[in-house]
Each structure stands twice: as structure tokens, then as C-alpha cells.
Symmetry: C2
Subunit: 192 residues, 2 copies
């Protein structure tokens, strides 16, 4: 969130982040950004080259935060399985959806390699982080040797991203939790 | 796809379906619909009450098609596991994403209960259909008794929806297949 004490460029970035999360890139007009930021007409072009440049700054910041939030769970204490549980069960604004994942539904973001790059990099980073944890769990005998870290990492991340879709469709966060519970039952260490 | 032989109202519905899939509701203007349909200015209000009414007709038709495509795989031959494999591996335009799931990222669809209803009903129907197949598999001893049909159904559907997100982010359908492979390894009958 932003306050009146922030600089104009900060207010522009933070309003863009909020609007991208709520309405996506296609649904976010420069006018709406300026209004929410309480900034004057010329200010966007004073601080940024235009909407794509401002959006790129906003997306990069959101991507960094998402990665940090994932790392707090995935890099926390516990067994490999417990760390994946912590990631899947971490507090989320489920009905708002993923501020990074939702951008993949935005045709103008997907058509722009520069805007797509932080989206792809962030999701790839999380998937690979989970993949490494699965490999740790295999080495410790917690997970079956036939599991492929990369595949399980992708399935875990897909369940999160798809869980948002189910929850938003249902208008209830419970649908997210149900999908996560299903995946965790399947992933549960066989010796438990 | 539509042809010049179609009636104006059909052309309006089919163009709206395409545009909703490509650009979402927020990104689809009445002007763009009319242009793609090759229809005159007043024709939308002649055949429909407005954009929401036309979109509802379009979404309902897309929902019916999606349900039928899911049923072709889920109601096909084979064991419960094989039918879930058939559903997950069925031919998809992965990089286009799910024409129903993507609507959940659309704030104007989510804010309108009438537009959201066919989205929720379709996803719930597919989830419940998979849940029933998981219960069949449990009864046949193919799946472990601790699996909950509803949870596994949600996890399977979430993997599909999230798989689209990962594939679009990466700009490659392979990311979808990787997530699906991970889930299928986890779900594979233990006696296999």
C-alpha cells in the first residue's frame, strides 16, 4: 500500500501493482493509474517511458516479493515434505489470485517478451526450488525414487495456480484448500 | 469458427467467444466484436440486450463444449486411472489457455454472478466427474483408500488450470505436460 508521503514515482508504481493484480494489464488504463496514484497527467511520462515501462517496474517488484514469500516457506525449517506443506499452506489472499500468474492470461503481457520475462523467471524459480527440495527428500528416502523433481515441482506450482482459478470461480477460498489437500495426500511420504 | 453463411447473431456469438478467449471480457469491446463479426453498429442491440447478455450466451456455449470434451475423455474406455490419463493428456490448445478458466482472472466476470455461474458450474462439474472416477478406482482397489475423490478431483483440475499458466508463462506447451506428468506419477496405481 502507498501513502501520501511517497514520491510520485513510488505512488505510480504501487498503484500500477494494485491495478495489474485487480484488472490485469489490458484492463489498466494510464488514466486509472494516475487517478489511483493521485498524480498529474504528465507525471507518468516524466518518470517512465510509458505504460509498458511503468508496468515492467511494477511487475519486477511484485515478482521479487512473490519469490521472497515462497522462499520464507520453502527455505524454512522441517523435512522436505513439511517445507512443501508450508509453501502450499502459507497465508494467501486466495480470492485475489496470484499477482504474477494472472498476468499469463493477459494477451498484451504475453505478446511482450520484456513483460513476460519476469513472470516466466519467477514461476521457473519457484518450480526449480521445489524440484530441489523433492530431490532432497528422495535422497533422504522420504519421497519415492521414481519421482522427478522437476515434474513434481511443476505439479505443485500448477496446483497453486489452478487452485486460484477454482477458488475464484467458486467465490470461495475453500476450493483452493481442497486442491492443495488432494496434492498433499498424493505427495505424503509413504512411510508416514 | 464462423463463416459468412452464418446469421448475424451467430457471427456475434462466435466472435465474442473468440475474443473472450483471446483477450478476456475486460479486453473485449463491443466495437471489436462488431468488427470481427462483420456486423453493423446496431446489430448487437438488435439481437442481445448488450455486451453482458451476448457474453453470457457465448460463455454458456463455450462451457458446454468444454464439458463435452472433458466427458469424451473421462467417459471413455479404460480403468479409472486410464480415463484420468486420457483427460489430462487430451489434445489441447495449451498456449491459448482454458477458455473458461481464464475468465476467473477477469474482474468484470467475477463481479457479475450471472457471468460467473457457468464458469463455476463447468469447473465444479468436471471436478465432481473426476471425483466419481477416483471413487470407482478406490472401490476397484486401484487407488489407495485414503484418497478423497473430491480432493483428488480438485487437484487434477487445478493441475490442468495451473498447467496453462506455466505453459503461457514459458511460451511453450511443454510446461503443461511436465506438471501433468508429475501429477500422474503421484496418482499412479501403487500396484502398477
Amino acid at each position: 500500500m502507498y501513502t501520501a508521503l511517497m514520491s510520485t514515482s513510488e505512488r505510480l508504481i504501487e498503484s500500477t501493482r494494485e491495478l495489474l493484480w485487480e484488472r490485469g494489464y489490458v484492463g489498466t488504463s494510464p488514466k486509472a493509474i494516475l487517478e489511483r496514484a493521485g498524480a498529474g497527467q504528465g507525471s507518468m511520462y516524466h518518470h517512465f517511458k510509458g505504460k509498458p515501462d511503468l508496468a515492467l517496474t511494477a511487475i519486477r517488484r511484485t515478482a521479487e516479493e512473490l519469490r521472497a514469500a515462497a522462499e520464507r516457506a520453502l527455505g524454512g525449517p522441517g523435512t522436505p515434505y513439511e517445507r512443501i506443506v508450508a509453501y502450499l499452506r502459507r497465508e494467501r489472499a486466495v480470492l485475489r489470485g496470484c499477482p504474477i500468474g494472472r498476468l499469463t492470461m493477459d494477451p498484451d503481457v504475453m505478446a511482450n517478451d520484456e513483460l513476460r520475462a519476469p513472470v516466466d523467471e519467477t514461476l521457473t524459480w519457484i518450480r526449480d526450488r521445489i524440484a530441489g527440495i523433492v530431490e532432497e527428500g528422495k535422497a533422504q528416502g522420504q519421497f519415492a525414487p521414481e519421482l522427478d523433481g522437476g515434474e513434481i515441482g511443476a505439479a505443485v506450482l500448477a496446483t497453486v495456480q489452478g487452485g486460484y482459478v477454482l477458488a475464484r470461480a467458486a467465490g470461495s477460498p475453500a476450493a483452493f484448500d481442497t486442491a492443495v489437500s488432494g496434492l498433499l495426500t498424493l505427495l505424503a511420504p509413504r512411510t508416514a
